[in-house]
């Protein structure tokens, strides 16, 4: 391998990216345009205030000797900025409104709620004497924000109701499971989508690689270069480095665009560095898939179509949001899922870079990328060069 040759080919590719309008659009402008459009569509533009939630409440604690606990809970809930309380006389009416999307969530205060709270204060250190109850919480599954944000809000409100403003994390007799630990006050749908945007744009590299390689093969450029001392590994490494560079530029541009329209990730420079790393590695798998798509097509159009067929499942199964069911099973074999997961953990949940789960994501993406890029190189070198 000769690095001067590799560098010469990388420079050639960079000139192509900047001079070919179609390539420039797909690689750089399209992700920026997409980011801006999504920003408008999902409420990121200029939004700096908290997200507003309409939360329905049903109080079934009619016969309690301590109704002040339920009313205190409602008062504290309505004090949360951005929460609009809608009271229902019964569960059925509330459920109906939730189904129609009129509210984002429905909270049902159980019978015995007041007694349960009271039992805690009577025997704060004797859990066996508590009267245990559970607050029922129903969420609009179509509202990403409500799904993630409301449970912690309810948990927070309950603890404030029980303990006042003191920060306490003792066992209590009323339980509510909080699925995600996020800062709910500033989360919008846009915040959920940004991590997926990075992976989404990188996936387009698959299409560009497939197109580019098909054109270079069909126009005899690969044959022409193969009469020079350039080796297959020189050429493939140059392609890989070129598209990794593009991936990093894409990420930077999407980040900048998102930032300009109000996005603020819950991580620092080290987290952003980690994101760049995992996306650069992910771009390797996109290059590999592009090579495979180019191998089995004869024209740039065919390569584009096949590349889209390869890229589509990654784009829509697991890149933006978990879809549940079989979609999640399929997504679990796609590297983009782990990229989005790591970026969501960093950017949305504000996890530290030392969080084990993101390193597991990185290892999985590295492994998948190595396998795919090696497979792509072998397949393209064997059948795709048109020699």
């Amino acid at each position: 391998m000769d690095f001067k040759r590799v560098l010469a080919l990388v420079k050639k590719n960079m000139k192509k990216f900047t001079r070919d309008p179609g390539t420039l659009f797909l690689l750089v402008l399209f992700p920026v345009v997409l980011t801006t459009v999504f920003g408008f569509a999902f409420g990121g533009i200029g939004e700096s205030g908290p997200q507003s939630f309409e939360i329905g409440v049903v109080n079934t604690d009619y016969s309690s000797d301590h109704p002040e606990w339920a009313s205190g809970f409602f008062t504290n809930l309505s004090d949360i900025e951005g929460v609009i309380l809608v009271e229902y006389a019964d569960n059925e009416t509330g459920q109906a409104d939730l189904l129609q999307g009129s509210i984002d969530a429905l909270i049902v205060i159980p019978t015995g709620f007041g007694d349960s709270c009271q039992s805690y204060w009577e025997f704060p250190f004797d859990g066996t004497s508590w009267i245990n109850t559970s607050i029922s919480l129903y969420l609009d599954s179509g509202s990403l924000v409500a799904t993630a944000a409301v449970p912690p809000i309810v948990q927070q409100v309950f603890l404030r109701t029980l303990f006042g403003d003191a920060k306490i994390s003792l066992d209590v007799p009323v339980q509510l499971t909080s699925p995600q630990l996020i800062s709910a006050s500033s989360v919008s749908q846009w915040d959920f989508m940004v991590p997926g945007m990075f992976a989404f744009s990188a996936i387009f590299i698959t299409v560009i690689v497939a197109q580019s390689m098909t054109v270079e093969r069909n126009e005899g450029l690969l044959r022409r270069m193969s009469t020079t001392p350039v080796t297959s590994s020189d050429y493939m490494l140059s392609q890989t480095l070129s598209y990794m560079t593009v991936a990093i530029i894409q990420v930077a541009m999407i980040f900048l665009t998102s930032y300009l329209i109000g996005y603020r990730p819950a991580t620092g420079l080290i987290g952003i560095g980690f994101a760049l790393t995992i996306l650069a590695v992910f771009s390797l798998s996109c290059v590999g898939l592009g090579l495979i798509a180019a191998t089995f097509t004869n024209s740039a159009d065919g390569a584009t179509g096949l590349a889209f067929m390869v890229a589509m499942p990654q784009m829509f199964l697991g890149t933006f949001m978990p879809l549940g069911g079989i979609a999640d099973t399929i997504a679990s074999i796609m590297p983009s899922t782990y990229v989005t997961d790591a970026l969501t953990t960093l950017f949305l949940r504000g996890a530290l870079v030392t969080t084990p789960s993101i390193w597991i994501d990185l290892v999985l993406v590295v492994a998948a990328s190595i396998i795919v890029v090696i497979a792509g190189i072998l397949v393209f070198d064997r059948w795709g060069r048109g020699m």
Binding site: D2, K4, R5, A8, L9, K12, K15, K16, R19, D20, E219, G220, L221, R223, R224, M225, S226, T227, T228, P229, V230, T231, M387
Partner: protein, 259 residues
């Protein structure tokens, strides 16, 4: 059909290119059929033949793009299959269908191929200036290749083939689509290469070009070498006016239809 087994030059230090029973089949089609040929250093060898005769297939084998089905070929003593990487260092190919990067300028295309051949950057600049002057493309060398005419592309392709100063050049119809002035400048350039002791295989449909430039010509028909020798010797041998008459006589085809 009489088949000539060319044996003018034995395998000595003077042999730049050697073909021994070189054969290439594509399925049932035999594109090159048992070629024997030695080409010495510093020789310009014109390879002539009707369309589909096997000229380009032969060039493709010599440039390591194709492997022979039978026989072998060496360039500068290196087997084109076993030592393909060594062969690639010593050849310069100007292919029949020029391949270039349309989004690069002429200079950038040439620079790239120079860099792929590890030509030092300073030397590269000097050579580009020099070669661009020789083939009369200097004024347009910084234009995007996508804006070039067919003749300009041919000239750029010729420089791309020679930028690393290879001892062996394979020029596959280098003057197609050129105007007479440009063609003449390329002819002068090729003659200059001969003075530098370079070995050149030149395929062409222009008999005048072959007669003007070649030390020897070989006529291939249906994959076989049916005539070989200096142009004037062949003209004398068949007592005709020019090489075109020899070609028509030996291949039995009308050259103008071919062209």
């Amino acid at each position: 059909m009489e088949v000539i087994v060319e044996q003018s030059f034995k395998k000595t230090k003077k042999t730049a290119i050697e073909l021994k029973n070189l054969t290439k089949r594509f399925g049932n089609l035999t594109a090159v059929d048992g070629l024997f040929l030695d080409i010495r250093w510093g020789e310009i060898f014109g390879l002539l033949g009707p369309n589909g005769a096997g000229k380009t297939t032969t060039v493709n084998i010599l440039s390591t793009l194709l492997d022979p089905t039978e026989g072998y070929a060496t360039v500068a003593g290196h087997d084109v299959v076993e030592k393909a990487s060594e062969v690639r260092k010593v050849i310069g190919l100007c292919p029949q269908e020029p391949a270039y990067f349309p989004y690069l300028t002429g200079r950038e295309n040439i620079e790239l191929f120079g860099q792929l051949h590890s030509v030092p950057q300073k030397l590269l600049g000097e050579r580009i200036e020099n070669l661009a002057q020789r083939v009369d493309i200097h004024d347009d060398i910084d234009r995007r290749a996508s804006h070039y005419s067919g003749g300009m592309i041919r000239r750029i392709s010729t420089i791309m083939a020679l930028i690393h100063d290879p001892p062996v050049a394979l020029l596959d119809e280098p003057t197609v689509a050129m105007d007479p002035i440009s063609r003449r400048s390329v002819w002068d350039f090729i003659k200059e290469l001969r003075s530098q002791n370079k070995t050149i295989i030149l395929t062409t449909h222009y008999m005048e070009e072959a007669q003007e430039l070649s030390d020897r010509v070989g006529i291939i028909d249906e994959g076989r070498l049916i005539e070989v020798g200096p142009p004037q010797d062949l003209i004398d041998k068949y007592q005709v006016n020019d090489l075109e008459d020899v070609f028509v006589l030996r291949t039995g085809k009308k050259l103008k239809e071919e062209v």
